[in-house]
Amino acid sequence: MEDKKTPPTLEELQALIEMTNTLNMEMFYWWCTALMICIHAGFLSYEIGASRLKNALAAGVKNILAFGFIVPSVFLLGWAIYNAFPDGLVPRMDALMAGMPWSQSMGPNIQDNATGIFWGAFALFAATTGSILSGAIIERARMSAFIIMTIVLGGFLWLLAAAWGWHPEGWLTVKWGYHDVGAAGVVHMIAGFFALGVLINLGARIGRFNPDGSANAIVGHSMPMSVVGLMLIIVGFFGFLGGCIIYNSGAQWINIYGQPTNLSAFSFNTLMGFAGGLIGAYLTTREPYWMMSGGLVGIISVAPGLDLYHPGLAYLIGMGVSALAPLVNNLLLKLKLDDAVGAFAVHGFGGFAGLVISGIFLAGYPNVNGMPEISFFGQLGGALVMAALGFFPGYGISYALKKAGILRVPAHAEERGLDLTEVPAQAYPEWSSMYGQSSTVGGSAAPSTAIAQ
């Protein structure tokens, strides 16, 4: 005879639903974080490929170290900064203390399924900022200087930007209606403008410019490696952008500002922005390095309005901004700024243009909780704040390091190559026996300068 089971009570069903929601939320961000590691892997491959043979491993070590230093920095102080500074520069002391590493929520806690998983996602966003800086300054920045700058940028600065513009109560949204769901400003602009400030003080690689100001191509040793790396970054972006949406138990997904949205919206516009970006860069460069970078630009430029754009509009925005990005990189070259991978054009310019354009197309959309609606001047103002918050610390720190004589490697080390000088390993041990010493300048393709020549 079959046992007759007692049906669950409403309270038991409610508890089951809540537990399922909590576990779903936890799993969602867990896998977002895992995918975001693809961004770091992609930057690793892309920067190694964009480096000359003599600097390939040094570029890799720098990128790996960024991860190793940024994650504990976010643990020690960064997470507290994000939670404590939504009002500006005056901290909320209770939130600050709750985010410190001796807080009950900053470790295994069986009553708290959220803090660690969100902290992890934020740590990976931080690693992304470090990687953006890393690429711009390859082949001549000192490792130690990079470590200091990446700790400041990834461990602290981007979290202050996120507190201001990517927080439910961030002052940029509360006062100006700022809207940046995909972190074009708080991640990409902060890192891109920080890198620009550093580049001014760091100077160009030896041989990059002629006395008459014209630029020479300094090309990476493996464009295929760079292109595959860029595609890995795109994979990681699905984790990155998934981490930009909030799993809201019992109701609809919401964005970081509390507005209802869903992953379906993000899917439409991420892919259409990516495709538009590929085509835009193809139209102006015809070469794969910039096409893939253009795909990134496409996603970044539509990131502020991933939740609201029509997909066709996302395609057109991505295409337009991406078509311009290589020209922005050429403008830097005319100013004798040697951005080795076009990091400013992709992240700084892409983010800035995306925010300004979002001010045109999203103006009038409502915010929640009585906050001002989205407006052109709110978006423009937010973009300018992000530019300043990235640029001035980057310029200031690199200026101080330069004055201390520890920003750049010595000329003889740069000329003989950083791998030979400081890395106790060889990227391609058979190379010299097969082909002789690798060249110091030149190569077979011109990733960052293709249309400048």
């Binding site: 590493p101 806690n109 490792m143 003889h412």
Partner: protein, 59 residues
């Protein structure tokens, strides 16, 4: 040990009830990062000073 039972527990990590020790551990994390940075500076200084004929010693 910070807990004796999982019933009703929240923070279960080591020294969860001893914030002074947690602060010290956090200090060690920061100090280790600083040490790694200093080690990088020393390594750079040494390797930049190596003459070309001694570079193979790194490999």
């Amino acid at each position: 040990m910070s807990i004796t039972t999982y019933e009703g527990a929240s923070a279960v990590f080591t020294f969860a009830d001893k914030p002074a020790i947690l602060a010290f551990i956090s200090f060690l994390v920061a100090a280790t990062s600083l040490y790694a940075l200093i080690a990088t500076v020393i390594h750079e200084k040494h390797s930049y000073a190596l003459p070309d004929e001694d570079l193979d010693k790194l490999k």
